[in-house]
Symmetry: C2
Subunit: 241 residues, 2 copies
């Protein structure tokens, strides 16, 4: 309707050209593509048009512009595979793949459960929950942010274990003898919120894979609800049936 095939927009043309150069290796990984001004001269277009083209490459994950330096070609390796099953956790996945990982508690508080949280976790009006924001890194680079909701009654005096936080599941297992089991997960694609983009050090408009999960006690009663956001183009969630 709007964009029929022969209608070639200038900035999309330039983007395709640049992607071709990267695919063919003419712009090598970890090297710079030509500067915006250089591209303006090459294509005889305005810098705004070049910026639209480069912006598309950025959103698609091909390049990362660095202020004052230039625009670098990304690795685009095979995406990191994250296997989801009833038992798997972030740490175990990373360990299996031999990737150095760490978790960081960036925020937490205790508060009344919202209506949705009450419903998901089988709580009543007066129940309190802990809400944790956890940033996970691979090779020192931030890859995911997870918001975790867990009822106070499951983890009394939880705050005592949050100093020197290393791993949520380590705390659950060591101090509460709780072994969570994944009950269900749902997947959505979205764009990073401003806050998430900042924490994950991502440009705007990079696609995010959002994974909402319910974790239960082995017996089946609800235990924990979480929403994880990971950079979508460099990771892959695998489910086996």
């Amino acid at each position: 309707m709007k964009r029929s095939q022969e209608m070639s927009l200038r900035h999309l043309e330039i983007a395709e050209y640049l992607i071709g150069k990267i695919c063919s290796g003419q712009y090598a990984v970890n090297e710079k593509i030509p500067s915006e001004n250089e591209l303006c001269r090459q294509f005889n277009v305005n810098r705004n048009t070049v910026r639209l083209a480069v912006g598309r490459l950025t959103n698609l994950g091909w390049v990362t512009p660095i202020h004052g330096k230039g625009c670098y070609v990304n690795q685009i390796p095979e995406p990191i595979v994250y296997v989801l099953s009833s038992k798997t956790r972030f740490s175990e996945n990373m360990k299996k793949q031999g990737l150095a990982h760490s978790s960081q508690l960036i925020d937490w508080h205790k508060a009344n459960a919202t209506e949705g949280e009450q419903k998901s976790l089988g709580l009543v009006d007066t129940d309190l929950v802990y809400r944790l924001e956890i940033l996970r890194c691979i090779d020192q680079k931030p890859v995911s942010i997870t918001t975790t909701i867990i009822p106070e009654q499951e983890v009394p005096l939880f705050e005592e274990h949050l100093t020197n936080f290393q791993s949520l599941y380590q705390i659950l297992i060591e101090h509460y003898q709780i072994h969570p089991v994944r009950a269900k997960s749902s997947f959505q694609a979205s764009l990073a919120s401003l806050k998430d983009a900042e924490l994950l050090d991502l440009p705007e408009n990079v696609p995010i894979l959002q994974i909402e999960s319910m974790m239960n006690h082995p017996a089946g009663t609800p235990l924990e609800y979480s929403v994880a956001r990971i950079r979508g183009d460099m990771h892959k969630c695998l489910v086996e049936f």
Copy 2:
């Protein structure tokens, strides 16, 4: 690092303001937000800046601009839930939710299997595969594109059943007595390719949920490999463990 909290960019400010107005209902669903020129006057900024702000809302799924008319506020209903299990298919999911749906075969051909396809499907060099591109609609609106690869040996004379295409699985069941079973699926978030964006009638930079699936025979031998792309912010894939 780059975007600390107090640093408020003009276009992000305007975007936040507009989102607030939509959330609070001051800009009603299916109504227009003020025109770009009007917003220029309101915020005393250039039209390019306004367009950045509106572009963000568009990518986030809040609004859809229509050339010559205006920029309309979207429904943002609860996302359509698509339950993935070993047996579920698109049609059954939609039927369960009482949604009118249809499938359309937009392209197909028979060709040699690529190396990857050989590996996934257990084929050898000389084997042929059918490749289908299927567009699925809900309420006449395109929601997903699926590329399906199926070996010729599984479906001899497949082309005879592709005229008056209605449903892939109907053909498999009725003409070949094949009942596919989902073996595994992986999820990634990405941006729509230009072609997909056109087919799905989406603006650039809208996030896409990409689902790669292996379907097997009930006995466990590989049968079909597919990659589905659906608009990510209005759908949700649910997996139960």
